[in-house]
Symmetry: C2
Subunit: 219 residues, 2 copies
Amino acid sequence: MDQQAIQSIVKEVVSRLTASSVNPHMIPIAVSARHCHLSKSDLEALFGEGYDLTKKADLSQPGQFAANETITIVGPRGSLEKVRILGPARNMTQVEVSQTDSIKLGVKAPLRESGDIKDSAPITLVGPKGSLYKKEGLIIAQAHIHMTPEDADHFNVENGEYVKVQVNGDRPVTLGKVLIRVSPRYKLEMHVDTDEANAGFITGKTMGKLMKGEGNAHD
Amino acid sequence: MDQQAIQSIVKEVVSRLTASSVNPHMIPIAVSARHCHLSKSDLEALFGEGYDLTKKADLSQPGQFAANETITIVGPRGSLEKVRILGPARNMTQVEVSQTDSIKLGVKAPLRESGDIKDSAPITLVGPKGSLYKKEGLIIAQAHIHMTPEDADHFNVENGEYVKVQVNGDRPVTLGKVLIRVSPRYKLEMHVDTDEANAGFITGKTMGKLMKGEGNAHD
């Protein structure tokens, strides 16, 4: 066995021990700032015919990336500039904001799982080559945890289950109704929005402890 | 005994039953938007010599009021307009913002108990008649519960203790390190900032359940 193979095995063993044995219930947390996903046709309406997004940085979930392109989103009471577009293009246009943003825009955005935009809030999108009024598409994303089927076994949870996650620190917080999303394509990571992050002083390096129960009083 | 005395007794009995027996651990929650308290001299520097605040509305804590007057606060990265002044004037000028605001201003405001502004963050205040650079005074207010000594007995807590408060709903959240503040002058009420409110969909009508323990994992 060559040196490189040994290094590779050592790295894998250490990684697995760190993830499951040393911190058996701990999950890395990522903070999602406001962002949008655009359909191909909406992208073209805002940036011009045949336009393709350009990659600024890869995201932690495989295949997903932050684009260099941004748009302005506008509600009846206010607007938010430089809202990052995430790629690649999706089937439906979806804008994810915090409750703080929602108040600033003057729109009552519902708390939803990503992809569930039926009867969500309306929003105006403004790009360099045009603007669009979407009758629905604005949501506050429900906190969720991406994980593989192996992670789900390890944590004893299943796809669609709600759990709570405790975060320690100067401003300890336990977030409830955190949705479990399982796919072999996913990488273990909890996603919270900026309100949840700021309420718990959660930064890019924070870990949370997964606990069974959705977090309401009857647990 | 006259009718008025009977009514008064009935009202008091109902009030106490509602507060302690029906909801033995429940506390009303108020959301504090960003605001500032000004010293008399800072008020005059911003609004002119001899200026007195005018009352817009009484606040729930006895003697405290929201003034009609607002100021703009400015940091190295951004500013916030129409920041409400709360009266009456205090010994020291203190500006209370959320972590979201702190990021927008580009200042790292510390989490502090109200009144504890030593070595807190710097902030520029702009009023209609002048502006001021304060070397300290900008804080993120620690979530706290105002209560009377009788309330403290009822909840089995003491002044200065940290507790956690659970809030049920669509976005359940448990806030930790919530400071107990006891005074005969206080009215039972928990104060959270807009980040904590928005992370838990807390509005002016939300109740929270007080629980012993500061909310970190070792509880």
